[in-house]
């Protein structure tokens, strides 16, 4: 069984077609990346897979569950991290994790989740400060912790590290990678083509609502005789 099966997915915003029929499969435990420039349609695809937007046409299965027919069940196995997301500003970091955890487990179970979240966020004493006082990197770590602490079957992470400095970005990538090894499938998007080489098992290059190439980073580099994924992208798009 695939963790994700997407077939001929089309998404229209009114008369504008943001996804023009994309198909891809992701195996369980894989880290799969949607890579492409701004406006390619990555966020649109991830929002649809997170049950946030309606599907125009096509079929989607998450962990074997038909997304269009049973979105509530899909919501039980996924965890979505929006790009540029914030947390409730009036809450402290710890309170935010508790607030989220209570929707997934009760009592002791929730405590286990929160403890795991605290570990991932790794914010030290600042975890007891209000979220509004956090830097961008700290806030992102808190949100990644929120997304991963519940050990979802599928984590959907939009622009995982955008806007973060090198150190913060690297730390977050490490965390994600280690969770992928523990039974969580990861679907992420990035416009940073170098980052995905470090992180993803397989990638799909998205341009203008279409997947223009797919494979492991080394596969793709080999296939297009390129030094890195960025070069692959340029070659694919220019052809």
């Amino acid at each position: 069984m695939y963790a994700i099966e997407v077939k001929d997915l089309i998404k229209n915003y009114g008369s504008f077609q943001a996804l023009k029929g994309i198909s891809f499969n992701v195996k369980e435990g894989e880290v799969y990346g949607l890579i492409g420039p701004n406006g390619a349609g990555k966020t649109t695809a991830l929002r649809i897979l997170s049950t946030l937007l309606e599907v125009t046409s096509g079929s989607i299965r998450i962990q074997g569950i038909d997304l269009r027919e049973r979105p509530e069940e899909v919501r039980r196995v996924i965890s979505y991290l929006p790009e540029d997301a914030g947390a409730y500003k009036h809450l402290k970091g710890r309170e935010y994790l508790k607030f989220i955890a209570q929707f997934f487990a009760d009592g002791e179970g929730a405590k286990v989740l929160v403890d795991r979240g605290l570990e991932i966020a790794n914010l030290g004493e600042r975890i007891d400060d209000k979220v509004e006082t956090y830097s961008k990197g700290m806030a992102r770590r808190l949100l990644v912790a929120r997304a991963l602490m519940i050990r979802p079957k599928l984590a959907i992470l939009d622009e995982l590290t955008s806007g973060l400095d090198v150190l913060n970005a690297q730390e977050i990538r490490k965390t994600v990678k280690s969770y992928a090894g523990q039974g969580t499938t990861v679907l992420l998007s990035s416009h940073n083509m170098l980052e995905v080489e470090l992180l993803c098992d397989r990638i799909a290059l998205v341009n203008d609502g279409l997947i223009v190439a797919e494979g492991t980073p080394s596969d793709l580099k080999h296939r297009y005789e390129a030094q890195n994924v960025e070069e692959v992208f340029v070659k694919v798009v220019q052809r």
Binding site: Y13, E83, H90
Partner: protein
């Protein structure tokens, strides 16, 4: 604990902080004193008031009195049947019936003030409704002057206090089918200013405030993408909608209670001198009446909040949310001004229909209507607002499942309202959010 109650707890916790409560209390105190200012407004002048006269005396002094009244007012009835007089006044928009009892002249001649019985016809208790007493005050003063003049001119008495006050007035008022003995319309009006002024104001403020809570909560959640997170969690859409509505409604009702306490404190201190026993005139409200007012307010509030939720669905961010409160503000202000300044009963038909159609009107007019046992108006108002609230709530839940929730429509500028009170409330809501 259900996820609904978790969401409600989150909303209430977010809203109930000292920073949000203090401005509410300050405003309650401020408007409490304002209520006093308006409580004093009573009269509007009118030309040639229409009155009826029943002269049971026919003596010298009563002839003087009738002559003066005849000179400065339009007499629509002059006879001896009280019911006929009242009917004539009713038909011709008259303001009062003066009865001059049979011993009027005799009393004055024997050094006692003569009694004139005035029966006032009161139409409405709104601030702008003109009161019958005001327009004939000068008529009665004229009567006094003329009698004083006659007393001095004819050397009838040298009793100074009689000369200065040759008549005394006993008053009763007919209002909405009730005859209330021994009380003037001015007193009724100022006693009821707590209903005519305070209730509409409180309802309006609560609706705008709670409404802007819902809209800005939607705007903020969208801006921070916390809404997206919430929507991808195992929480039903209905729980999210209801959680937000109930959370804001709890805070809104709490706010209403605080305002009412503030108002009643100021009302009490104002009314200390002219105390007036509502019970005596059958105006007191029972537990059922208060419950009906509460239900009416709740239905209007749910309608307002569900409407705001829909507006919130169309906003893109917090800034846009601010401008979205405008339609609700307007909807709340129309019935507020209408019911504050006039009485529902004195409105023309078209205005009645419009006021009735806005669910916010009903809690504003409920109290006064219940004092006069107008259960039909109150119950039909509650039924209508409840149906309207359910429909809008259903629409909100339906829209919550659509793309529009996340893609939004309105994202334009941060416009501040030109209406000062609204701008103030907006600023408070904005501060609270920051």
């Amino acid at each position: 604990m259900s996820s609904l109650s978790k969401i409600i707890r989150k909303e209430v916790k977010e809203l109930l902080t000292p920073a949000t409560l203090i401005p509410i209390i300050v405003i309650a105190v401020l408007f409490g004193s304002l209520g006093g200012v308006f409580g004093g407004i009573d009269e509007a002048m009118e030309e040639a008031p229409r009155v009826a006269i029943i002269d049971q005396d026919g003596g010298l002094m009563s002839q003087v009195a009738v002559a003066v009244i005849n000179f400065s007012a339009e007499i629509v009835y002059d006879g001896d049947d009280v019911q006929e007089a009242l009917n004539a006044l009713d038909e011709q928009d008259g303001v009062s019936l003066f009865i001059i009892p049979s011993n009027f002249t005799a009393d004055i001649m024997s050094d006692r003030p003569g009694t004139i019985e005035a029966v006032w016809i009161m139409k409405g208790a709104g601030i702008m409704d003109s009161l019958p007493g005001a327009s004939v005050e000068s008529v009665l003063m004229g009567v006094d002057h003329a009698i004083s003049f006659a007393l001095i001119e004819n050397n009838i008495t040298d009793n100074a206090s009689l000369i200065l006050g040759p008549t005394q007035l006993t008053e009763s008022t007919v209002f909405k089918g009730k005859t209330m003995e021994g009380i003037s319309p001015i007193l009724i009006s100022s006693m009821m200013s707590s209903q005519s002024f305070v209730m509409p104001l409180i309802v309006m403020m609560v609706i705008i405030y709670a409404g802007s809570i819902v809209i800005s909560s939607m705007g903020t959640e969208k801006e921070n993408k916390t809404l997206e997170t919430l929507l991808t969690m195992p929480v039903s859409r209905t729980s999210i909608v209801f959680g937000k509505l109930v959370g804001a409604a709890i805070v809104g009702l709490l706010m209403a209670v605080i305002y009412m306490l503030g108002m009643s404190y100021y009302m009490d201190s104002l009314m200390g001198t002219a105390s007036f026993d509502m019970e005596q005139y059958g105006l007191a409200l029972g537990i059922t009446d208060y419950a009906l007012v509460g239900i009416s307010l709740f239905a209007a509030l749910v309608f307002a909040l569900a409407l705001c939720m829909i507006l919130g669905i169309f906003t893109k961010n917090y800034k846009a949310a601010q401008t979205m409160t405008m339609p609700v503000t307007f909807l709340a202000m129309i019935p507020m001004f209408v019911t504050m300044f006039t009485d529902f009963d004195t409105l023309p038909m078209a205005a009645k229909v419009m006021v009735f159609a806005i669910p916010f009107s009903h809690p504003m007019i409920a109290m006064r209507a219940l004092m006069f046992d107008d259960y039909v108006l109150v119950l039909s108002g509650i039924a209508y607002s409840s149906v309207a609230a359910l429909l809008v709530m259903f629409a909100a839940v339906t829209l919550f499942k659509k793309d529009i929730l996340l893609t939004g429509k309105v994202s334009n500028s941060d416009r501040k309202s030109k209406v000062p009170l609204v701008a103030l409330l907006q600023t408070i809501a904005r501060k609270r959010r920051k």
